[in-house]
Symmetry: C2
Subunit: 353 residues, 2 copies
């Protein structure tokens, strides 16, 4: 994002009736105006104001770097509890946080569709700015491209986050060991069902709200509650839901898991909507929840730290890690049975993030 | 990009006849298969193999970090001299290099359109892998989303690069001073005209080839040829062309420039195609060229270092920085006249990068 010094334009952008046109992506004066009057205005910070095609950043010594990236193509762009702007901040910050890192900087690149209303774009960038400030992580550089009408869907946003992690912190999906405890930070399925509820043909008229949130302060509280190494794995169960995330971990760590269905919280409105649509909350996306695998001796103190944090107040122990050459995730059901919880497959829920 | 350990799928991906479907973006088993059998296969490196949603990276001490990002929406996806895969590596590496930084890591996020041929995607990812290896900068993490047919255009790729720069290196578009010399690394307009030539209605049948290339080794050679601070500004004249880039610099540094038209190299086939289409090469995008503003005493040695590098063999001094309260870029023409070189405005060349 070349922000450069302020220049004067013939007239300011019309945020009431204006629309994106191909000129906004052409790299000339109109592109510069869009960047100055919208992006820099909303996301303002000293890094962005450097005005070069990249940002120069400071990082604390004695750390390793974490880098994570996410493309966001959610539809609709606005949903109860957030929009593509706030989601694109939360989603990427959470990927950085899941490696135990403190997120420091974000970049954002926008693919805008010709004809997209500037008012909507302004609302989205404002929401992104709000989420970024709330998290304390600035958007330090970016890029904007425009594609012809019918080659996009309003706006797609790719964000990349970088953060730092102490040299001796090693959190990974590969670290789970038999005997470890599986913790979940709260109830599942809210993001996916809130987005589905917003889609025209599925208007439930309920009070479903996305759980979209930045989890890095929750992670910091958890890591502070146990010695280094006690928290083996952190992961946010987004696309594919809790079931898919746990299967990723069992495969990556070459272990199994045994869950207790009645320990996995599902809000009544999520359960109701899922039943109506024939969906299983275990496969519905979350954007403000995390799964932690913790060694057994420290599970209680990590769980207590989660429950003391606003984003983890409904945290619970949902299962244990087992030795299993098949790397199955098994679950004791509410009715006393036992079933294998498989990966998501078959009909997907498209564009949920 | 969650890469996880290798799993077995019912059948391998069909790279001959297969197409992207919505399942490839749903975060389940098919998404994992696409990542393993295509992305990890082609881009293989130890960071990607960490298998988490982000990558853990080492950085040398005593440096500042540089972060740059670019969305790539070029059309057509394949063009003489490259494709969206190689371009998405070069474009972002160059933005990192223009701050004097040594690029170390890349992330990549893909927005795929339902129905896109896996064969084309494979070719693009292979080209990306080749460009990444050639540059010595691995793609360490990524993400893949799928949108419905008619909501994209094959594939869009956003890349983010991070690099390191010594603490005492301060290269910026804001550093140009009156009396400084403006250097250009080679002939202009090849990328834009090669892409235009590829578009159906503009088949010139010429030998135009994009100049798409990673410029970080050229930058390193230039910086080694002069004391710290002598190279004030580096910038790659992409969208908007040389004219727009120079105007960005004059505005950001609050200076003017005076160019010599006959010092700006344009290949005959670029000049011919531009004349045919009524375009000015000064406004045509480049993807393997850079502009440098250098203090006068060291300009000759920096220019010599450029000319000794394969990507700068046709480098020349094209002008000088002047004091000008209007921040104009002026040019002495071949015919002895003098004109103002303005920003790009009016009809853009869409989706050139």
């Amino acid at each position: 994002m070349n922000t450069t010094a302020k220049a004067s334009y013939q007239r300011p952008l019309d945020f009431k009736r204006g629309r994106i046109d191909m000129n906004h992506g052409a790299g000339g004066r109109q592109a510069a105006q869009l960047i100055e009057e919208l992006f820099v205005q909303a996301l303002d910070n000293p890094y962005l104001r450097q005005g070069n095609d990249g940002a120069l950043l400071d990082i604390p010594a004695g750390h390793r770097l974490v880098m994570a990236t996410d493309a966001h193509v959610i539809s609709p762009l606005f949903f109860p509890g957030g929009d593509i702007g706030s989601l694109s901040v939360h989603g990427t910050l959470n990927d950085v946080a899941m490696l135990g890192a403190r997120p420091l900087y974000l970049s954002a690149s926008f693919v805008l569709e010709e004809g997209f209303a500037l008012a909507d774009l302004q609302r989205i960038v404002a929401s992104m700015a709000h989420a970024s400030r709330e998290a304390g992580v600035p958007v330090v550089t970016g890029d904007t491209k425009v594609v012809e009408r019918g080659k996009g869907d309003g706006v797609y946003i790719s964000t990349t986050g970088i953060g730092v992690v102490p040299l001796d912190c090693h959190i990974s999906g590969a670290n789970a060991k038999p005997g470890d405890v599986v913790l979940l930070s709260g109830s599942i399925g809210e993001h996916g069902m809130a987005v589905l509820s917003q889609r025209e043909s599925l208007a439930f008229g309920t009070t479903l709200v996305s759980d979209s949130a930045a989890l890095h302060t929750l992670v910091a509280a958890m890591l502070a509650a146990a010695p280094n190494g006690a928290v083996r794995t952190l992961r946010d169960p987004t696309r594919g839901g809790l079931a898919t995330t746990l299967n990723e971990i069992t495969r990556q760590s070459a272990v199994g898991m045994h869950l207790q269905e009645d320990a996995i919280a599902v809000l009544p409105q999520v359960a109701g909507a899922c039943e109506l649509l024939g969906l299983d909350p275990l496969y519905i996306a979350n954007e403000g929840k995390l799964v932690a695998v913790v060694d057994a001796p420290h599970a209680a103190s990590v769980l207590a730290a989660m429950q003391a944090h606003p984003l983890g107040h409904a945290a619970s122990q949902i299962g244990v890690v087992t030795a299993d050459p098949h790397h199955f995730v098994q679950m004791s059901t509410r009715f006393g049975g036992r079933r294998v919880v498989d990966w998501l497959s078959g009909e997907p829920l498209p564009r949920i993030c």
